[in-house]
Amino acid sequence: MAINKDTVKYTANLARIELSNEELDHFTGQLDRILAYVDKLSTLNVTSLKPTSHVLKMKNVYREDAVKASLPVSEAIKNAPLLENNLFKVPKIIGLEA
């Protein structure tokens, strides 16, 4: 097996997604089949190859460090589910189990 339930559970936690037991079962089976398929990459010897993370030949893109017009704060945050005094409001972080 390429992946088991414990690893899926651990990975889902890294991805901050809560899974039901049912989801955990069927995702594990499906991901295992997908990983078994992609395992065909292991038949290739790639040690001498450079990775392609993107295809353009360009490297760093620079611009003048100049101040330009930007969105007003009220516009930028208007889609937030919870606001207070023009700030995002989130649950208490300190003093609770993470």
Binding site: I3, L31, M58, V61, N79
Partner: protein, 484 residues
């Protein structure tokens, strides 16, 4: 006179210039069609008739008219339109109205096109069938029991079903070309960097491109020109001049060298698809192109590379949906972690969860080298295959998909089988090259078949030229579905 909604943008522009029709006539024709067929197709995610009419009324009446003056356009639901619902067909972006326009939207409205609404899609563009949308599946106008392809299935179905004149889609692994292919319309994925991605809600940033879905090749050229060009808001946007596609595509294809890769004609592929592609190749030869067999030897690894690279990038891009800045936040939460996990549990559908977990796994400590890093190296091999082929050929032709449209529900429970339906379109995204799908035949059940033409980087002109010459000498694009 033919119904205006059935016409192309270039037809309509002619009629508008002559003064035979007004933008309002076109708009009303579209609205009438939507009221008749949208119940069957479910191609649209957000459409507000009054707003569309209002935009039409606000159109500038001055002598200075943009090239797309009065032409209505639909936009895939992952492209930001200021103050309009933009949800990627996902529950997690419920109610999201961007505070800014994508660059392509500013370009279109700058040319006086009329924004009509947003089209349905697979959630976050994760899919090949438009079945993973939180709004439910879109249906193929040629057979309502079948998928319209995906992920830009709403755009393709709206164009094929004459609810739209043309539309924008996005293509990360075939999401413009495959739906265009199975809906019998034209879909073009530009070279990576040709069209600005600013305001396109990211799926896989090294693969995504916005592109046109249209009723004919001329409209594809017009729309591509309208949205192309350098944009300083997208650091991966290429500072390369945009060609005059309309003039370029009308040249003859005599003497053009076209490669036919043997890896795209695999054992067990659909016979009707195979025969249609073979016939299309013969047609291209009759028109003067020189078609020769070639090989892209690493084709069989493309799906594997793609589903590691694309999901890894997606897992990173979708980390921003955390219940803080926009969209959904779950109720009854106890802590920060609880908020993240519950919001993402409730907000993402199955396929999004699956891809985020797969991508996170491929990037995670202990697996990074074996999966993500390896996939990037094999991506180099796939790109090199094309570099070599294009030393000899001006373009490459293949089927767009291994089969015509499959049935709704047929592949949704088996992700791997679904992933394999992208087998012929994925490589172009990995290599960053442009590709177009045009209609090249029908199955005996009257389902469209797509021909894919792939070109050199930034040589959209040549693939449009081949597509245009083929189209002008065939009638496939003139057929219309009878929506029941």
């Amino acid at each position: 006179m033919m119904e205006l909604n059935t016409l192309t943008a270039h037809n309509l522009t002619e009629l508008l210039k002559k003064g035979d029709i007004s933008p309002l006539d076109i708009c009303n024709s579209i609205i009438n069609r939507i009221e008749k067929t949208e119940k069957s197709l479910a191609a649209l995610a957000h459409f507000d008739k009054e707003k569309a009419l209002e935009r039409c009324g606000n159109l500038s009446k001055t002598a200075e008219k943009g090239e797309l003056w009065g032409i209505p356009i639909f936009i895939k639901d992952n492209i930001c339109v200021k103050d309009e619902l933009t949800t990627c067909s996902s529950k997690i972006l419920k109610g999201f109205k961007p505070p800014y326009n994508a660059t392509v939207i500013d370009k279109l409205t700058g040319l006086d096109a009329i924004l009509m609404g947003k089209t349905n899609m697979d959630e976050f563009a994760f899919g090949s069938s438009t079945e993973t949308s939180c709004y439910g599946p879109t249906r193929n106008p040629w057979d309502l029991e079948r998928i319209p392809g995906g992920s830009s299935g709403g755009s393709a179905a709206a164009v094929a079903g004459d609810e739209a004149i043309f539309a924008l889609g996005s293509d990360t692994g075939g999401s413009i070309r495959q739906p265009a292919g199975v809906c019998g319309v034209v879909g073009l994925k530009p070279t990576y960097g040709r069209v600005s991605r600013y305001g396109l809600i990211a799926f896989a940033s090294s693969l995504d491109q916005i592109g046109p879905i249209t009723k004919d090749v001329e409209d594809a050229a017009i729309l591509l020109k309208a949205i192309s060009g350098h944009d300083e808001m997208d650091s991966t946007s290429a500072d390369i001049p945009v060609s005059d596609y309309l003039a370029g595509m009308k040249k003859s294809i005599k003497g053009l060298k076209i490669g036919v890769p043997k890896e795209y004609f695999i054992e067990g592929m659909d016979k009707e698809v195979k025969n249609s592609i073979k016939a299309a190749i013969e047609k291209l030869e009759k028109l003067g192109a020189v078609c020769e067999d070639t090989s892209l030897p690493h084709t069989e690894y493309a799906v594997s590379v793609y589903y590691l690279v694309a999901t890894a990038e997606a897992s990173s891009n979708l980390a921003r949906f955390d219940g803080v800045q926009y969209g959904l936040r779950a109720d009854n939460i106890k802590s920060m972690m609880d908020m993240y996990k519950k919001t993402r549990k409730e907000g993402f559908g199955d396929e999004a969860k699956r891809r985020i977990i797969l991508g996170t796994f491929a990037l995670s400590s202990g697996y990074y080298d074996a999966y993500y890093s390896k996939a990037l190296k094999v991506r180099t091999l796939i790109k090199t295959d094309f570099d070599k082929a294009f030393q000899k050929f001006d373009a490459i032709v293949t089927p767009t998909s291994p089969t015509a449209a499959f049935k709704i529900g047929e592949k949704i429970s088996d992700p791997l089988t679904m992933y394999l339906s992208d087998i012929f379109t994925i490589s172009a995204n990995l290599a960053g090259i442009p590709g177009i799908s045009i209609p090249c035949g029908f199955t005996k059940n009257n389902l469209p078949i797509g021909l894919q033409i792939l070109g050199k980087p930034f040589d959209e002109e040549t693939i449009l030229r081949i597509a245009y010459n083929y189209e002008q000498n065939t009638d496939w694009h003139k057929r219309k579905p009878d929506i029941k």
